[in-house]
Symmetry: C2
Subunit: 340 residues, 2 copies
């Protein structure tokens, strides 16, 4: 995992931009019955219509845009698209918690960067450690154990950790409208995949329960694993070596490696998703590209062009010309988190 | 792709061993109705019973061995397991045909190894070129084009190429009993995957049509790809650099990378599949490991411990102790190829 991936430092940043004018709010006519049943946490705006219409067109056998079931592949970014990513990528918060848990076994960390910075909560010193420091942090917290052990560590963390500002479990900081979109797509014969810069094995233990996305439909960044037989028991051991960074140009590469065909729909929220949307929407026939614009400082966070996390800049500039749909979280989403 | 993968030179070998005594042929009682409907090209032997019983146990909610649907993952090797692999891995025959097709554009190949050996049909000189020569052959025939172009090349080859001894299209040299086993597993809620030493992008263009296995359920060896935008059109370009060898210890690694959970059934035919079966059957609960033993020189080929392709040696030694089922192609299969 890279700086971007691990630290969750998406490299760039973006805070709710009001320059966004893609989703006129319309309540001039009553919603159709379908509009009531489908995507209930989405307001009845042009954004919602664009999504619902796309699904109708590709699933109607009489439509010139009809797409056979097996080719209905939809890919979703995770951080900032399916769940929140503020005040830092949740995987970085995991790594920080993990350093604290393991500090007793590593007395040298008290005076060694980047660990000292983490233990002292000195985010400035952590940032100063740069990519190299963050990579060291990843390897110390994500490597050196078996895949099964890591899965347990992640599961235990999710069961007990709470978000620093909301106090909620991280798995409740998922977007209700996106859960509904995933369901709507699957109800219409789509296979839904995650394609995230986050660690593939950090996501897999919980994506099936939280999003209905099984492990084999999760694509992400990875470190290498090695097969060993220990006392007759085979294990896969996580190595302190990067394997693949699933971000930016890496996303189409990861899609090709794992899925082997071009998706017809892609949903992201940052410029790290630009190439994923570009690759998806360059295919023949009907295509859907969606960017979530974080515009709601009250219910969630507002960030875009200048954010260090989830920066959305080029995407905002080019979405209209490319026919991509930009979700204005504040106006397009009736609810943000489940139960709210 | 390695020597093993590319050349299809499985490194070791195996020819029909009659030492195999795992599947007593029984016709002493009439087959049950289920036995007639299911796996019709399998003789009613202990091997067939072991497979049918396993599927019944993991799908019966009342059984202590019941496995929930999403965890019913079955992995299949390809070369020698789903389709034939003699007189050489079909992907090597593809590379050889490809060298001949491209020779006009590469006049230097006439006097340069390993190309000269291929053009002159000098298999001895080709073997002498070793791993390095084979790697050069792979890169010259599998890299340097876009993924879409490579898919077209593979599709065109399969549409016209014929097997050197049977004269059949390669996609008809698949095993009818395995097609039935794939169907039977899927009919029982299994998700079926290929996990092959062969090239992932060599298989994906045709596995859905031939085996009912979609591209996203194919795991294989790979070279790297790079994302480029050419005149506004995004492409993935196949690089002359190995990415991953999905063989031996690589198979559990590839399974973990692509599937993210341990299969409950694994089917292979060579020692290149040993670790895949070892990893699969080391899990808790009911597990099925199957090795296809090529024992039928009349209807297919007979090879095992001494073969350079698809060598099966350790697998034969350890199958019984490990509880793996060994299919004796000659006695367990009523038919080998479709239509025979």
């Amino acid at each position: 995992m890279s700086h971007r991936t691990l630290a969750g430092s998406a490299v760039l940043a973006l805070v709710v931009s009001l320059a966004f004018a893609c989703a006129p709010h319309s309540t001039s006519q009553p919603p159709s019955q379908a509009a009531v049943d489908v995507l209930p946490s989405w307001n009845d705006t042009a954004v919602r219509s664009a999504i619902v219409d796309f699904v109708e067109r590709v699933t109607d056998p009489a439509s010139p845009d009809f797409v056979p079931g097996p080719e209905r592949i939809a890919v979703f970014d995770n951080d900032g698209t399916l769940w929140a990513e503020q005040p830092a990528y949740f995987q970085l918060l995991f790594a920080i918690d993990r350093v604290k848990s393991l500090a007793g076994e590593h007395p040298d960390w008290a005076t060694r960067q980047p660990f000292q910075a983490v233990l002292e909560g000195d985010m400035e010193a952590l940032a100063a450690a740069g990519h190299h420091g963050l990579l060291e942090l990843v390897m110390a917290t994500h490597a050196g154990m078996t895949t099964a052990e890591f899965e347990t560590v992640v599961g235990d963390w999710l069961a007990t950790a709470r978000h620093p500002t909301t106090g909620k479990p991280y798995t409740e900081m998922v977007y209700q409208p996106m859960l509904e979109l995933l369901d709507h797509l699957r109800d219409n014969g789509f296979k839904t995949f995650i394609v995230s810069g986050g660690g593939i094995e950090f996501m897999r233990p919980w994506t099936e329960q939280v999003y209905g996305i099984p492990p084999e439909q999760v694509v992400g960044s990875s470190i290498k694993t090695a097969y060993e037989v220990r006392n007759g028991v085979p294990v896969l051991v996580r190595q302190a070596e990067l394997d693949f960074i699933d971000d930016k140009e890496g996303k189409p590469v990861g899609i090709n490696a794992h899925i082997g065909r071009r998706p017809i729909a892609a949903v992201g929220n940052s410029d790290g998703d630009f190439q994923m949307l570009e690759w998806t929407t360059a295919g023949d026939g009907a295509r859907l590209g969606v960017l979530v614009h974080h515009t709601d400082a009250e219910r969630e966070w507002a960030y875009d062009r200048d954010s260090h996390i989830g920066r959305l800049d080029r995407g905002l500039d080019e979405a209209a010309d490319r026919g991509w749909v930009v979700v204005d979280m504040k106006t397009d989403w009736k609810a943000v988190f489940p139960g709210r």
